[in-house]
């Protein structure tokens, strides 16, 4: 099982929880597909038309920033994936 953390306002937009448990995914491509299947539109919203993660989002796998969100990046059970976007309030 992979734990995925989403920005709370994005989760609200798709009426899902901001922390999701996803089973049976072995890489990023499978994770995007699983998210899209569970919450139609979400998997697509997270990526540019060419499949790359949207520019203003930052992806962290196991607490490490992934500069280039290659779809082949392997995920293992127990890992945490953070999808973050900056906020600007001060």
């Amino acid at each position: 099982m992979i734990t995925v953390h989403l920005p709370r306002d994005l989760a609200a937009e798709f009426s899902c929880r901001d922390t999701l448990a996803v089973d049976g995914v072995g890489d990023l491509a499978e994770l995007w597909a699983a998210l899209e299947q569970r919450h139609p539109g979400l998997g697509r919203w997270l990526r540019e038309p060419d499949g790359a993660l949207r520019q203003h989002l930052s992806l962290f796998v196991n607490a490490r920033r992934v500069a280039w969100a290659d779809e082949r990046i392997a995920l293992r059970a127990g890992q945490e994936v953070w999808i973050l976007r900056a906020v600007s309030g001060g």
Binding site: R8, D9, R65, A86, S88, G89, G90
Partner: protein, 388 residues
């Protein structure tokens, strides 16, 4: 000077030294800080960007701790709607420049601190000159444009940067020392304009700013007092909703546009253009802007349109605002189809409806939250009788 005068001077000095030690006694007895650390703080200069919610909490603790020089950069005025989170300012300060209000408050807290007002917003033209005079930068600004501006300047001048941001129940904290990465390494691009709401639109719990702003003060004091382990290399995520702090690791990105191996940004750029002009969130009605933001848009030359009936407009209005009336459509607005406008009415209700209608007609329009009442209350430019 006679012997008596000399003796008096010596006594004054001694009294001052005693009160100095007494003031900071509880932190001087921390062996990790001590007298040497306190002396380092007294000799330090910190620039606080934004006297808003984060800047309020940070500046108060930095002043209380005895940092020698605190620069405050802000061009905004105090608004009633600021006070639930911007604890530097009081009810009596409404309408005043935030830098002036901050200076008074910090001087009252600790007269030993030198507070320098930088009135007006930092921009590409002045940021390097202002920042050059400081040792550490604490960023509590409230726009992406300002955040990237401050970050790039800190990288270019090799200044440590303690940056934080808040929204609703969430806070983000990042600390960078020169050469160890920057804000752009973590967030290379700002979100498209209008996709991430600001505090005026989405709200924020005031005390969340206290948590993040105080943490910024802690990190800045650690850097200046040369103690502890700075929270570098991590993005701190505070979730007030669950009461959790979580951290993810960040590192310098060799491909970073400003601090990478082959930087493409070698001087301040046009940050407003780069971050995009204000755009509405799709399907949620037109975006509302605060009085402060509206004032900023006015300085940027964005056109103001008054949607009240002509009789109301005639009694008094914002100088330069164009009367368009309540039934206006995109076709009879000033400017061309891609000219953005700020819609105003007495309380901000009618203008929100008009702005939403204009948006649906493909026009970029925002509405002044709180309307002309809020504008006039802030003491901003006004022609004719004040609105009631």
């Amino acid at each position: 000077m006679n012997e008596h005068g000399n003796q008096q001077l010596a006594e004054t000095d001694r009294a001052r030294a005693e009160s100095h030690v007494a003031r900071y006694h509880r932190q001087i007895i921390l062996p990790e800080l001590g007298l040497a650390g306190q002396r380092a703080l007294s000799a330090s200069r910190v620039l606080v960007v934004g006297a808003g919610a984060l800047g309020s909490a940070a500046a108060l603790y930095l002043a209380a701790a005895g940092v020698g020089t605190i620069g405050i950069a802000d061009g905004d005025r105090v608004d009633l709607s600021n006070l639930h989170r911007q604890v530097l300012h009081g009810t009596r300060d409404i309408g005043r420049l935030k830098t002036a209000s901050a200076k008074d408050r910090l001087a009252a807290l600790n007269p030993e601190v030198r507070v320098v007002e930088h009135r007006g917003y930092l921009d590409s033209g002045n940021v390097l000159d202002v920042m050059a005079g400081y040792d550490v930068v604490v960023d509590g600004s409230d726009s992406f444009a300002a955040r990237y501006l401050v970050n790039d300047a800190a990288v270019l001048l090799a200044k440590p940067l303690v940056t934080a941001a808040i929204l609703r129940f969430e806070g983000q904290l990042l600390v960078f020392r020169p050469g160890e990465g920057c804000y752009r390494c973590v967030f290379p691009e700002p979100p498209p304009a209008g996709t991430v709401p600001n505090c005026a639109e989405a709200g924020v719990l005031g005390a969340v700013a206290g948590v993040l702003g105080s943490t910024q003060a802690v990190e800045a004091l650690k850097l200046m007092g040369r103690m502890g382990e700075p929270a570098v290399g991590r993005l701190g995520l505070y979730d007030a909703w669950t009461g959790r702090w979580q951290q993810v690791q960040v590192a310098r990105d060799p491909a970073c546009a400003v601090c990478g191996d082959h930087p493409t940004i070698t001087g301040p750029i046009d940050y407003d253009a780069w971050c995009g002009v204000p755009a509405p969130a799709a399907g949620r009605g037109a975006r509302e802007v605060s009085v402060a933001e509206a004032e900023r848009l006015m300085h940027q030359g964005i056109r103001f349109v008054d949607v009240r009936p002509a009789a109301e407009y005639a009694r008094g209005h914002i100088p330069g605002a164009v009367l368009v009336g309540p039934d206006t459509s995109s076709a009879n607005l000033p400017g061309t189809a891609d000219t953005a406008v700020v819609c105003v009415c007495l309380q901000g209700v009618r203008s929100a409806a008009v702005a939403t209608r204009l948006e649906s007609q493909g026009r970029s329009a925002v509405s002044l939250a709180g309307g002309l009442l809020a504008w006039a209350r802030a003491g901003l430019p006004w022609d004719g009788g004040l609105p009631t």
